[in-house]
Amino acid sequence: MQRVRATFEKKGRAKYISHLDLNRCMLRTFRRSRIPIWYTEGFNPHPYYSFALALSLGFESSCEILDFNITDDEMPMEAIRDALNAVMPEGMRIVKVAEQKQKITAIAKAEYAFSLVTDDSAGLYAAVQTLLTQPEILIEKKTKKGIKTVDIKPDTEVLTCADTGSSVDITMYLPAGTQTNYNPTLFIEALRQTTDLPFEVRDIRRTAILCADNTVFE
């Protein structure tokens, strides 16, 4: 049995597939591809596969991780990739299939990119800078136990922030994985609370899933 890790894109119309629907969608994709995926044993056997991280509805991604097992030890990684890509939905594509090098618990953060479209990009840029120089960024976060206030400042690493004239484009690292998960909408929410400038959020993308040392999770 081969334990494999697929990296896939979820773009265009596919970004409206919810996580729950994605699960069902992958099950059917595996069946269409006819690759020999390993089924669980027991009373109700089902194909075993799991996503490393859930992706919020409406986000695009170039780096989603899907783990599964193949019963055929000889099947080349490229063949698995091609068989799946032949039957994937529009907007979804496997970019890589490889062996599972690290444990899922090695995931520590993810890189996001998004645009804040506005008529006053200079003003909004200044507002972002002001927010980032605050000692703490407090925001209410919904958790399983209810709503709690968190300070996202220590875990928010802004990589780039650019005023394009019609928007402010930001890339940042946020914690992800089995411990803490922050969604870029938390940061955007905090920004809305510090500025009255109207803006529209566009094209939120997850662009990398990383380990604690900023290397790409594999």
């Binding site: 119309r13 596919a14 409206y16 597939i17 919810s18 629907d21 994709t29 069946r31 939905p89």
Partner: protein, 620 residues
């Protein structure tokens, strides 16, 4: 901003956004510049309901198999998205191209249920298409048409549609599109096209037909424009085993009502239950061979990736080769880890080896559509289920570990008395008693008998088309009587809302004078009438009153045998004389044997020009 951007700007504000953006596996995308005719297949309910409809899957694939025609899907948006569409000038669009359907050549609706009629008007309005046919452009485009079972009496919608297609669409739809394509190239007008279309068998263009009414409100006569056929006959597929069937379905992302592969095994029904419209309007009975059914199942499972299959028909047990067919299917599905669901299957006369195989795949509960509470009433409606059969099957099921049974009944059937209502409770009680009389019954939990009661709705093209519906007072009396006659806590009774059944019968048996009332009801805010939380019966009654319509004229009046009915000019192959004969037989509490046992002379075989059955197998 283009339409796609406008849609996407708001899509994350609504429930289940994947319903509004397309892109599903199996959806067909074509190059607009290479397409000659564009067809929007519209389902007048939400995506979750409409995507489950088998007819759409068939006609979608069939039309798209022609390279230069493009058929796309369109559904009614839910309330949240409709508000956004109206606020932001997003016209109703098709899911494949995201282009507005008002720019299409055909806008085709399927009429599955009377209570979806208001949704049609709402969808036309959302699309920016004039709601009344007379207000549409004289140019040849934007042809608004409909097909499906409710088209057997399309009169209440006559003012809104350019044309209706009667019967099975696999051939006539393409003939219609071909005609359109040719006449479009010739520069024809809408009217010229409609006149030519009316010559195609199965195509009904209501604007060429004019009703004249008597003082008492019944129909005096029907005037038909010169050169237009006086009756329109429904279309049937003669070689049903060879008829087009899709080898792929659009596979939705979001969960829909019937989220599985569906394979049609037969059309029509041999049973002749007198209340059942489907049993008459889909005649003659035709079957696919086991090999065809198997091949279609396999192709669909492989191409869609579904791990569940269901067989579609009015009565799968009546298939001539059921044993062989199920054996083939079960051997395949078991090996592929596919779940085969067999709804409403009678298991009485199967071989033992097949029974054992079925037991392995069957998980669904035990359901009986007994329909009537006493044998006398079941004879009246020609529902050939005996109490002995119900009891036998229940015994086998209880011994096999089942402990719950569902029973379906109708209330307000012709000739029904209080005795028949009490009979429902007594039958349920005898099932409870049976359970406790069985030695090796399932231990630990009691038995549960669920009784679901619908109100009878007389429908066109059935022997009961002449019958009145019970008034609300009568229905309420019977509901109380049933509750009072039910002694055991193991019996659970549930009802349908009688207001729903009343609107259903009015729209089912109505005539063209209802068009303004449907329009008025929609203007007052009626839509999604089949959804309990949206149904507003008071607004409908207001609309009828505003338009001078007496609902009881349609709902509670007996239509005379010699009366001209609003659907008499439509020929569904079954003779009216036969329906009258069956109605009389019903009132004598006499049954009619099923078509395989003996031909009861409904007239279909004469019109089709061949016998329905050769020995035991149907003339597929």
């Amino acid at each position: 901003m283009d339409l796609k951007q406008k849609i996407e700007k708001h899509l994350l504000e609504v429930q289940k956004p994947s319903r509004y953006i397309g892109g599903e596996v199996g959806s067909v995308i074509k190059d607009k510049s290479k397409v000659d005719v564009r067809f929007a297949f519209c389902f007048p309910d939400t995506y979750d309901i409409g995507m489950s409809h088998l007819g759409m899957k068939i006609l979608y694939s069939l039309t798209n198999a022609r390279e230069n025609y493009w058929c796309e899907r369109c559904f009614a948006p839910s309330e949240d998205f409709e508000a956004i569409m109206r606020e932001n000038d997003i016209p109703l669009y098709a899911l494949e191209s995201l282009d507005p359907i008002r720019d299409f050549d055909f806008v085709g609706f399927t009429l599955q249920y009377e209570l979806s009629y208001a949704n049609i008007l709402n969808m036309l309005d959302l699309a920016g298409i004039p709601i009344f046919a007379k207000d549409r452009t004289p140019e040849l485009r934007q042809i608004v048409m409909a097909g499906g079972p409710c088209v057997c009496n399309p009169e209440p919608l006559a003012d809104f549609f350019d044309l209706f297609v009667l019967g099975e669409g696999e051939e006539v739809n393409l003939e219609l599109i071909d005609l359109y394509h040719r006449m479009k190239q010739e520069g024809a007008t809408r009217l010229e096209f409609l006149r030519a279309a009316a010559q195609i068998e199965g195509v009904y263009v209501p604007q060429f037909y004019h009703f004249v009414y008597k003082e008492d409100g019944t129909i005096d006569r029907l005037d038909v424009d010169e050169g237009i056929p006086t009756t329109v006959r429904k279309r049937i597929i003669r070689d049903y085993d060879k008829v087009y069937y899709p080898d792929n379905f659009v596979v939705p992302f979001t969960e829909i009502v019937h989220d599985r592969v569906s394979v049609e095994v037969l059309r029509g029904c041999i049973r002749g239950c007198r209340f059942c419209q489907a049993g008459f309007i889909y005649r003659p009975f035709r079957e696919k061979t086991a090999d065809t059914i198997f091949a279609q199942t396999k192709a669909l499972c492989e191409n869609t990736g579904y791990d569940e299959v269901s067989l579609a028909s009015l009565s799968t047990s009546d298939h001539y080769d059921i044993d062989n067919m199920l054996t083939k299917l079960i051997d395949y599905t078991a090996g592929e880890r596919i779940n085969l669901s067999l709804p409403s299957l009678r298991v009485d006369n199967f071989s033992e080896s097949l029974l054992n195989k079925i037991k392995k795949v069957r998980k669904s509960g035990l359901t009986f559509a007994a329909e009537g509470g006493t044998q006398r009433l079941r004879d009246v409606i020609n529902k050939n289920v005996s109490e002995e059969e119900i009891m036998n099957t229940c015994r086998i099921a209880f011994e096999g570990g089942y402990s719950s049974v569902k029973l379906y009944f109708m209330m307000g059937l012709p000739t029904e008395t209080d005795e028949d209502i009490v009979g429902i409770a007594e039958l349920a009680q005898r099932i409870v008693d049976l359970f406790y009389s069985i030695e090796d019954r399932p231990r630990g939990k009691g038995v549960q008998v669920s009784v679901s009661c619908a109100t009878f709705v007389p429908k066109p093209f059935t022997p009961f088309e002449f019958e009145p519906q019970d008034t609300r007072e009568m229905v309420e009396h019977k509901q109380k009587l049933l509750l009072g006659s039910t002694k055991s806590k193991k019996i659970k009774i549930s009802y349908h809302d009688p207001n729903v059944s009343m609107l259903e019968v009015i729209l089912a048996k109505g005539d063209r004078r209802l068009c303004p009332a449907i329009y008025a009801a929609w203007r007052k805010g009626c839509k999604f009438d089949s959804w309990e939380e949206y149904f507003k019966p008071d607004l409908w009654l207001e609309a009828f009153a505003d338009c001078g319509i007496d609902p009881s004229f349609y709902a509670n009046r007996r239509f005379e045998y010699d009366e001209i009915l609003p659907w008499d000019h439509l020929d569904y192959l079954v003779d009216k004389a036969f329906l009258v004969r069956e109605n009389k037989t019903a009132h004598e509490s006499k049954t009619t044997p099923n078509c395989r046992q003996r031909c009861s002379g409904c007239g279909v075989n004469k019109k089709v020009g061949r016998e329905c059955f050769a020995k035991s197998k149907s003339n597929v």
